[in-house]
Symmetry: C2
Subunit: 455 residues, 2 copies
C-alpha cells in the first residue's frame, strides 16, 4: 500500500515535471515573441506622444479611447467594444501659484499643483498662518486650533521600505484624507508634501477625498524639495504666512469608456479571463508608467497569443479601464456589466504599478487557487517574475472580488515608481523598452497558463 | 543512534535558524542605514558632474583619483592609499566623421565614433566599397575577398536573452576581434554596429583588440539606427562606398592608480576582503553606470559599517580600480601587489554591471564556498538580491583567481544597461537613487557576512 502511494506520487510528480517542461517551452516562445516583436513600446509611444495626458472627462481621454480601440483591432482581437460609464470631470483651471511669505518680507515661490478633485481657492487665493503636521494623530491633537490656518502635511515617504507602495500607503493618508480632516477642524487650506520618494522639484498630484460632512477646503501638493525647505524655515521661525491660489473645480459627470478587446476561448468560451490597466492619467503627466504601460502590456497579451497561433481555451479580454485616478468608475462599470450578463469571470490580472522590470505577481484569491499559481513559480524564474505571493491586485479589477473572481496584480520593481508618479516626469522616456516588454511577456505567460489550466 | 542523529540535526538546524535570524537583524540595520544615509548617490553625482569622463591616462582620470581618495577618507576608512601602475593612453583625437555614399550620389552622415585602442585613418580617411558580415564565420568564408574593402560588422544583440550580458558576449566578438580579423584578410577599415540592445542614435564605443601579427586597420562604431539603415540600403544595392575619418592613436603608457580605502579587521586583520569597481570610464560618457556606480557602492560598504559601529572581523578594502576599459591594468596591479605582499585575499566582490536594481550575486569559487553563500540566500530575499548562482565575477577582481581568492560579482537587473553602455547617455541622470543604494546595501550585507563568518 505504501509502495502504491509512493509509485503514484512518483508518477504524479513525473507528470508534473513533464507538464512543466512542456509549459516552459510554450512560455519561452511567448517571451521570445514578445521580446522580438511586441508592439507595446511603440503603442505606448503613440499613447504618450500623440495623446499625452488623458484625465477622465477630458477631450484627450476621448481621443485615447479611439486610439486604443484601433490598436485593439490591429493586434487581432476577435471583438473590440466599449463600455460607456459616467466619470468625474475635474478640471485644474488656471496655472496654480503659491508662496511662502517669510518674516523678513521675502517671498518664496512654491512649485505646486492643485490636488485632484480639490475645490479652488477663489480668485483671491488663501493667505494664512501655517501649522505643520507630520501625522494624522498630530492633527487630531491640534484639533480646532488649526482654525483659520493652512495645514502643511509633511509626511515623507519611508525610505526603508523596499516595497515602495508600502511607503505610499502610509504617507498617502496626508493627500487622501488630510484636507478633509483639516477642513473639519476649520483650516482654510491644505498644503501637502508630494508623495515622491526622492527629493525633486516637481509637484506630484493625485486625488484627495473630501468628506461631505465637513467644509471642503482647497488643497495643493508641493514638491519634496519645497517641503524640505518649508519645514526648515518653519522650524527656524522664519515663516510669516503661506499663500496659494487654485481655480480647480469639479464639473458635472462626463461620459467615459472602458475599451475592451477579446479573444474567444476555444474550449470554455464562457470562462472569462481579464487583463487590464487604466487608460486615464493625471492631466500633468503623459501617464507612461501610470498607466499607459499597463494598457499596452494588456493588449500585448492578445497580440502575442495571436502571433504564435495559440488559441486560448478560455476567453481572454484586454481592458483599458475608463477611470482609475479620481473615481474608480471604470472598474465599477466592468463589474456591473459582468453582473448584469452573469459572466463567469474566473481570473483578472491588473498591471498598474508601472512598466518596470518584473519581479512577480501578487495574488488575492483562495489558498487553493494561490497554490496552483505558486506551483508555476519556476516557470517564471528565467524571466524575473517568480516572486509570487499573497497581496493586493489593482483598483480596476478589485471590484470583481464581489463576484468571486480570483484577482492578481503584476508586480514590477518599485524603486523608481514614486520618483515620477503623478508628476510631469511620468513620460515615455522614463520607460525602458525591454523592461516594459519583459513585463508583458510574463503577464502573457500567466494569462496563458490560467487559460490552459483554469484555476 | 538514529535518534541521536535526528536530535543533532534538529539542534544544528535550530542554531542555523537562530543565527540567520540574528544576521537578518544586522542586515536590516545595514539596509535601513544605506537607504536613509548613504552618500553613494551624492558621490556619484560629484564623480559624474565635477569630473565626468575619465579615460585611463587622461587628466580627468587624475582628478578622479584625488576626488575618490578624499571621499574614501570622508567615509571613514582607516587607511587610504594609492597603487601606482602604468596604463594604456589612448586618445580619440579630432571629432570623427563618416558617411555612406549612395549610388545616386547622395551622402548619409553616420553617427559614429572610433573604437577604443583603434588606430586612426590618417588625415584623408578611408573610402572603400563595403561588405556586410553577420558572423565571424561569414568573414572567414569571405577571406581575402574583403581586401581593400571596409567590413561592416552587423551583429545585432539577441533580444531574447533575458540576461543581456549573454547577448553582449555573443555580439561583442564583432567589436573585440572583428577589426583584427578583417585586417588579417586585407580590409582597409571596419565599421561595427554598436553593442546597444535598443535602437538609438548614439555610437557606443569600447575597446577593440588588434593582433600584432596582422595589419591594424581603423575601426569605428556606428549607432544601431544607422546600422539598420546601412544594412537596408546595402541590401537594396543603393550603397556605392563608405567613408570615415578618425585621428585616434595610442600614446605611450601613462601613470594610473588604484585608489584603496581600508578598514582593518578586528579579529583576523590578515584576511582581506576586497570590494570594488573601476574608476576609469570611456571618454564619451560620464561613466555613471560603467562604473561610477560600482565605485561609490564599494565605498558605501565601508561607510555603512562605520556608521553602524560594526567592527568587521576581517579586513575590508574598497578599491577603485585604475584601468578596466582598455587594458585591465588596475586588476593586474592589484594582484601583483597581493602576491608581492603575500596577502591572504579570501574574497573579492566586484560591481561592474551598472547601478540598477539588485537581482543577486554571481559566484566564481569552490562548491563549498558557493554553498556557504547560497545558504544565506534568504537573508537577501527581502532586498531583491536572492538570485545567487554560479557565474563570473568582474574584470578587475578576476586576476585574483590566480591566488585562489573566492570571487563574486554583484548582479543588478540588466535590462537597461546596454541602452547606454559606453555611450554619451551613460550619465548620472540615468541612475536611480534607490536602485543604486539598494545595490550598495546588498553588497554591504554580503561583505559583512563574509567578514563575520569567513568562507
Amino acid at each position: 500500500m505504501k509502495k502504491g502511494i509512493l509509485i503514484t506520487a512518483v508518477c504524479l510528480c513525473s507528470q508534473f515535471v513533464f507538464s512543466q517542461n512542456a509549459d516552459s517551452v510554450v512560455i519561452k516562445k511567448i517571451v521570445d515573441e514578445t521580446m522580438t516583436n511586441s508592439t507595446a513600446y511603440e503603442n505606448l509611444r503613440k499613447l504618450c506622444k500623440q495623446i499625452g495626458p488623458r484625465l477622465s472627462g477630458s477631450q484627450q481621454f476621448a481621443k485615447a479611447v479611439t486610439l486604443v480601440a484601433s490598436m485593439m483591432k490591429n493586434i487581432g482581437a476577435d471583438t473590440v467594444y466599449l463600455q460607456q460609464c459616467m466619470v468625474p470631470h475635474w478640471v485644474r483651471g488656471e496655472k496654480e501659484r503659491g508662496q511662502i511669505i517669510l518674516t523678513d518680507g521675502k517671498k518664496y515661490d512654491l512649485k505646486l499643483c492643485a490636488l485632484g478633485n480639490s475645490v479652488g481657492t477663489g480668485a483671491k487665493g488663501v493667505t494664512a498662518n501655517v501649522v505643520e503636521v507630520n501625522s494624522m494623530a498630530q492633527l487630531d491633537k491640534l484639533g480646532t486650533s488649526v482654525k483659520g490656518k493652512i495645514v502643511f502635511f509633511n509626511f515623507p515617504m519611508n525610505q526603508t521600505y523596499i516595497k515602495t507602495f508600502r511607503a505610499y500607503g502610509e504617507s498617502g493618508v496626508s493627500r487622501n484624507r488630510g484636507p478633509a480632516v483639516a477642513g473639519k477642524y476649520g483650516a482654510v487650506g491644505a498644503i501637502v508634501r508630494s508623495l515622491a520618494i526622492n527629493l525633486n522639484d516637481y509637484p506630484h498630484t493625485g486625488a484627495t477625498g473630501y468628506n461631505d460632512s465637513f467644509p471642503k477646503i482647497p488643497a495643493v501638493a508641493i514638491s519634496t524639495n519645497d517641503a524640505e525647505y518649508f519645514s526648515r524655515e518653519l522650524k527656524k521661525g522664519n515663516v510669516s504666512k503661506a499663500y496659494f491660489r487654485t481655480t480647480s473645480q469639479m464639473l458635472p459627470d462626463a461620459v467615459g469608456y472602458n475599451v475592451i478587446g477579446e479573444i474567444k476561448g476555444s474550449q470554455f468560451p464562457e470562462q472569462i479571463i481579464t487583463v487590464g490597466g487604466h487608460l486615464d492619467s493625471w492631466d500633468l503627466a503623459e501617464g507612461a508608467n501610470d498607466d499607459g504601460s499597463g494598457v499596452v502590456q494588456s493588449m500585448d497579451v492578445l497580440r502575442t497569443l495571436k502571433a504564435l497561433g495559440i488559441k486560448p481555451k478560455r476567453t481572454i479580454r484586454a481592458v483599458a479601464f475608463a477611470n482609475e485616478e479620481n473615481g474608480g468608475r471604470g472598474g465599477k462599470k466592468y463589474l456591473d456589466e459582468a453582473k448584469a450578463k452573469n459572466e463567469k469571470q474566473i481570473f483578472a490580472l491588473e498591471s498598474d504599478e508601472g512598466g518596470f522590470t518584473p519581479r512577480g505577481f501578487s495574488l488575492d484569491m483562495s489558498e487553493t487557487q494561490s497554490n496552483k499559481i505558486i506551483s508555476w513559480k519556476n516557470l517564471f524564474y528565467p524571466y524575473g517574475a517568480s516572486d509570487i505571493i499573497a497581496g493586493g491586485s489593482g483598483s480596476d479589477v478589485g471590484p470583481l472580488k464581489d463576484i468571486g473572481t480570483a484577482l492578481a496584480g503584476f508586480t514590477p520593481d518599485s524603486q523608481r515608481y514614486f520618483d515620477i508618479h503623478h508628476a510631469a516626469t511620468d513620460v515615455f522616456e522614463n520607460v525602458s523598452e525591454r523592461e516594459l516588454k519583459l513585463g508583458a511577456a510574463n503577464m502573457t505567460a500567466l494569462i496563458w497558463l490560467v487559460s490552459e489550466y483554469g484555476l
